[in-house]
């Protein structure tokens, strides 16, 4: 039996706006509800400021970066310190593509924000499946 690798889903910290909240909530939904046995995560600042042990995270696991805005901190950090993520999502660009407004409140997602987070989580879970299927 082939053992599938766990996938690291790494969200930006994104405290400056609701897009970061959306990224984190969607990431947690993948970890807790959609693919709990297939995914792991790490705090991005810990990964960024960490030593070899933290940086080996993305070498040990194929990753999906989840960035709230076009600055793409998660994608760039993983690429810089480990290797390019197997997949990456720019949530700001994705919402434009979907025609969905960015959440206005960064503390609590409202009904539309939660709906967007669940849709994003489903997309991320699909990427996790794709990566596992290809490995």
């Amino acid at each position: 039996m082939k053992i599938k690798p766990k996938i690291g889903v790494v969200s930006c910290s994104g405290e400056c706006c609701g897009l970061g909240t959306l990224s984190r909530v969607a990431t947690r939904l993948v970890l807790e509800e959609l693919r709990p046995d297939e995914t792991v995560t790490i705090c991005l600042p810990l990964f960024l400021a960490g030593e070899a042990e933290e940086h080996s995270f993305a070498k040990d696991y194929p990753t999906v970066s989840v960035d709230g805005c076009g600055k793409r901190c998660a994608y760039k950090a993983i690429t810089k310190y480990s290797k390019e993520p197997a997949a990456g999502v720019d949530v700001e660009a994705l919402l434009v593509e979907w025609g969905v407004e960015a959440p206005g409140d960064r503390r609590t997602l409202d009904g539309d924000g939660l709906k967007a987070a669940r849709r994003l989580a489903e997309l991320l879970a699909g990427k996790v499946d794709d990566i596992q299927g290809a490995s």
Binding site: S11, C12, S13, G14, E15, C16, G20, R24, V25, T27, R28, L29, E32, T41, I42, C43, L44, P45, L46, L48, A49, K71, C73, A74, K76, A77, D105, R106, R107
Partner: protein, 133 residues
Amino acid sequence: MKKPILVIPCSGIGKSFGSISRDAVFRVCDELRPGKADTICLSLLVMGDEEARRRVSESTCIAVDGCTLECSRNNVEGSGGEIAAHFRVMDLLRENRGLKPREVTFLDEDGEKLSAILAEKIAAKVDELWGES
């Protein structure tokens, strides 16, 4: 015109402590002390973003950490910022042993209570530092 006090949470995503730290900071910046307190993305700062580094170096900073790794304090100091005050959710838990937060994505009742307590403490510190600046 005075610059807002920068209140920077740790960005923890693996445990409820990080969620409490972030939630408390949002309460302070958006509800309790808007205009007096603001925040920035910690990852952006650690990535070396010039604007983020400039803001940190020119502002009075409060670090808010979820766990003992103290990512916020370490990274703000590592980016040239000076920490005027530091809060840790772990310390708050010791002071409120009856509260046991468990949820990470959406805070449960105990998490919300701890976030509210922490936010009041941070807001009081913001007032103190604002008066001094």
